[in-house]
Symmetry: C2
Subunit: 500 residues, 2 copies
């Protein structure tokens, strides 16, 4: 067997173990009875440990070396060269963090999760503060182990968005802040221009499910290679390019949660499903970064799913399904309602206009905490003043403020910026897609999503992890990361809706 | 750490890998989209290989030796002594079969499954014959590798029913044949005494599901530590003592399939759930053999679920659920209908009276084929004449005869007798339970199943694999395997139903 085949075979075991673990995680969130929890934690621990051991074994390093020599004359974008390149990158990351630190992070974040949940319930940041102190300390150790040139945050960010630098994020956020904050303020002056009642009607769950399934199927989510189940927290997971599953949750009196949640997750899922079959079972299958992944989910959820053209096609079916609720509401009113802006307290419930402000705030907080420029004890005040400055609102308590979500207690520092990077990328890709295939908006109005999906498959999905995010964006758009496409889109859409 | 702890820790990895594989199997049959099949096969192969490698590693042998020395003064029924004893047994079995043979069996049976399915569809045994030849050849090699004293079949049987000997099975089947065959013939004379129409009415599926769930919950299947899903083939599987799942399937015009299927699987599941929590995560958790497992499923399905007392309690609810179908049918008529006897062609559809004849036939066929006393080419004729002799019917074709089920193509030779052993044991245990707790039948009539389940938990379930099947039966009943309790039950019940 040649060296590249040996490497592939060795890595396949790791991939299969990771996919098995992912299925255990899926089941845990969708179907596992309560009693199964303790054993499931053990099973997941064993699978993760074995996958990690196999991947970080000396054998991997040796196979990589041998394979690298074998592929050195292959073109950069050949599957073989890409496999060696990406595997080497992953191997370097995985072997740099000492096992003791990996275990310590797992132990502390496992405890931290419970402490956080309790503190949040009691609305007492002080109870979580010592844990947060400990976590940021571990994050600093992790960053040291991973290594960085300029900023400590670079090391953490790189795990989620390979090669992205803190300075790049700061550059785009600075540009964003200058344009977005005044625009948000202007919209906030006119919030009463949109009637939000249409999204809060009595929407029977079974019909929501039926409508949502019809929509994501039509978008192009392949249900022969996927399925949708219910879970408390919506997510996408996969155990193969040909088994990519999503979850959603339903709220009777708030339709957007399930529908736009399903479209969002289907966006992630179509990216995974679109990986070239040649990459199946290798580490190259699947999305190249969290940012690019988020570009797909947010493109489908917002740019497509909350567009006028989309609803020109789907609104009559929805009206027919809910005649009592929507019979007397015209499409234009409905369109404005699903795009309502508010002084949102949390990213997951934020509209398109305020969404990135939450990310910017978190990015600034994380950097300041990591670099010791902000003390943990002062963090709630810092959080609250940033909320006031960016969103014109102060959280009524820490539960809705600094304790609002799970990221920090899970040790996910450096992860948050990818939400915004994805948002910006979604509009860069969208502008390019429209340039290449001008019929896309008209196709969407006709309920034909295949021209858009086809373009995404061709330009983004099929490559899997073969290109780093910035490389991919450069190949696709000819540019680096830009916020202008997003700002153009946002201003045009919301100036019209709010009459600015 | 002491040696026994080291052994436990080492074996826990194996148990967790096996449980992870079991979850992958469960998902495959319940929820996996079609596209996931190819990757799933690879994932299962990796998990099985890793579990097998870990278990058969020299390390296991060394840990076993050290642990054996450590526990040599512990009482026979201590958890520690049992763990070492059972692990040594499993280790000996697993290390005796060369890896090459394991792989060859996996390869051939994987091919054989498709060949069998096609041959069965085409009703052509000749197409399957070469595969069957090959499989019995591999089974002989397997028996040689495992080793045996008297009969080749002993080695195969022992995998499913530890320490059970072919001669013992022959003894009970000879005794059975003498009593059962004439009794069956007498019942066959009077088949028209039972009106079978009540089981063939129009039973709405959602109501069947609701009723079935209500029943198994009331029997004592703990849904905080289990769940029921739909699958083409009903089965029980578990990933912990505290996560034991069952599946069932529904037929609109034949109620018994789902209901008695659910009760049967719940019987298996309650055995698994009843394992002592002290054994959780060790190889001692769960049923001690397929035969004892089947004693539990058949006890609940037949001795309880098809009894008059059971329906005295449940029939009014069923009537209320299906007033149009059952309103004018009295309980006595319904009771007889669910106990109807027929000239069944296949075990899975057989009633209690004819069930064991199918098993006896298969046991005889397997022995003759294995020992070369019957040539594969002559097997269909042998099958058909036995069917005629035992059941008074000749299969219309090989699809409904020798090709009827999956066992041989899956390499499951030596497995079949456990279905009957379980049936006999179920009545031995039942008689003893009634002796110890005479109120059980009256409790069942009142819908109180806790006295029976409590007795089973106390005497059988809690022990997990600590005792070999014959030991367990001896401890519980003071006797070895006997068919008389079963024959007494059968004759009393069916003589009354058929007016013999």
């Amino acid at each position: 067997m040649d060296k590249i085949q040996q490497l592939k075979k060795h890595l396949a075991d790791v991939v299969h173990l990771q996919h098995a673990a992912a299925l255990l995680g899926w089941d845990q969130q969708c179907y596992m009875p309560h009693g199964g929890g303790a054993a499931r934690a053990e099973q997941l621990a064993v699978l993760s440990r074995l996958a990690h051991e196999k991947f970080t074994a000396d054998k991997t390093g040796k196979l990589l070396q041998a394979a690298a020599a074998e592929v050195k004359d292959r073109p950069y974008d050949s599957d073989e060269a890409a496999l060696v390149r990406v595997a080497q990158h992953d191997y370097d990351l995985a072997t740099r963090i000492p096992t003791a630190l990996v275990e310590e992070i797992a132990r502390v974040t496992s405890q931290a999760h419970e402490v956080w949940a309790k503190a949040r319930q009691d609305k007492r940041f002080a109870d979580f503060a010592p844990m947060l102190e400990r976590i940021f300390d571990l994050m600093r150790q992790q960053a040291q182990a991973l290594g960085y040139k300029d900023r400590m945050y670079d090391a953490l960010l790189d795990q989620y968005e390979p090669n992205m630098k803190t300075a790049d994020v700061e550059r785009v956020f600075t540009e964003l802040r200058g344009e977005l904050v005044p625009f948000v303020a202007a919209v906030f002056e006119r919030l009463d221009k949109v009637d939000t009642r249409p999204v809060h009607l009595d929407y029977e769950l079974a019909k929501q499910e039926k409508f949502g399934m019809m929509v994501i199927k039509k978008l192009g989510y392949d249900l022969n290679r996927g399925r949708q189940d219910r879970a408390v927290h919506p997510f996408t997971t996969n155990f193969s390019t040909n088994d990519v599953r999503i979850t959603t949750r339903y709220m009777k009196n708030y339709m957007p949660t399930a529908l736009f949640g399903s479209i969002h997750e289907a966006g992630h899922a179509m990216y995974e499903q679109g990986s070239s079959q040649a990459l199946e079972g290798t580490i190259l299958a699947g999305g190249t970064s969290l940012g690019v992944h988020e570009s797909q989910s947010r493109l489908w959820e917002n740019v497509v799913g909350r567009s006028r053209g989309f609803w020109k096609h789907f609104y009559p079916s929805l009206q027919k399904m809910y005649p009592k609720q929507l019979g007397s509401i015209d499409m234009e009113t409905f369109y404005r309602a699903i795009n309502f802006v508010s002084r949102s307290l949390i990213r997951v419930e934020a509209d398109e206009v305020t969404y990135n402000l939450h990310v910017m705030l978190r990015f600034e907080m994380e950097n300041a905490l990591l670099e010791g420029k902000l003390a943990v004890k002062d963090a709630p005040d810092a959080w609250n003043s940033k909320m006031q400055a960016y969103l014109g609102i102060t959280p009524p308590n820490d539960a809705e403020g600094i304790l609002q979500d799970v990221h920090w207690s899970s040790g996910l520092v450096g992860y948050f910026p990818t939400y915004s990077l994805g948002t910006f990328l979604s509009l860069q890709y969208w502008e390019k897609a429209l340039k290449d295939v001008p019929s896309i908006p008209a196709d969407i109005e006709k309920g034909n999503f295949s021209t858009l999906l086809g373009w995404l498959n061709q330009n983004i999905h099929q490559h899997g992890r073969k290109y780093w995010p910035a490389e991919l964006t450069q190949r696709v758009t000819g540019e680096s990361l830009q916020i202008q496409p997003f700002m153009r889109y946002l201003k045009a859409k919301y100036s019209e809706i709010y009459g600015l």
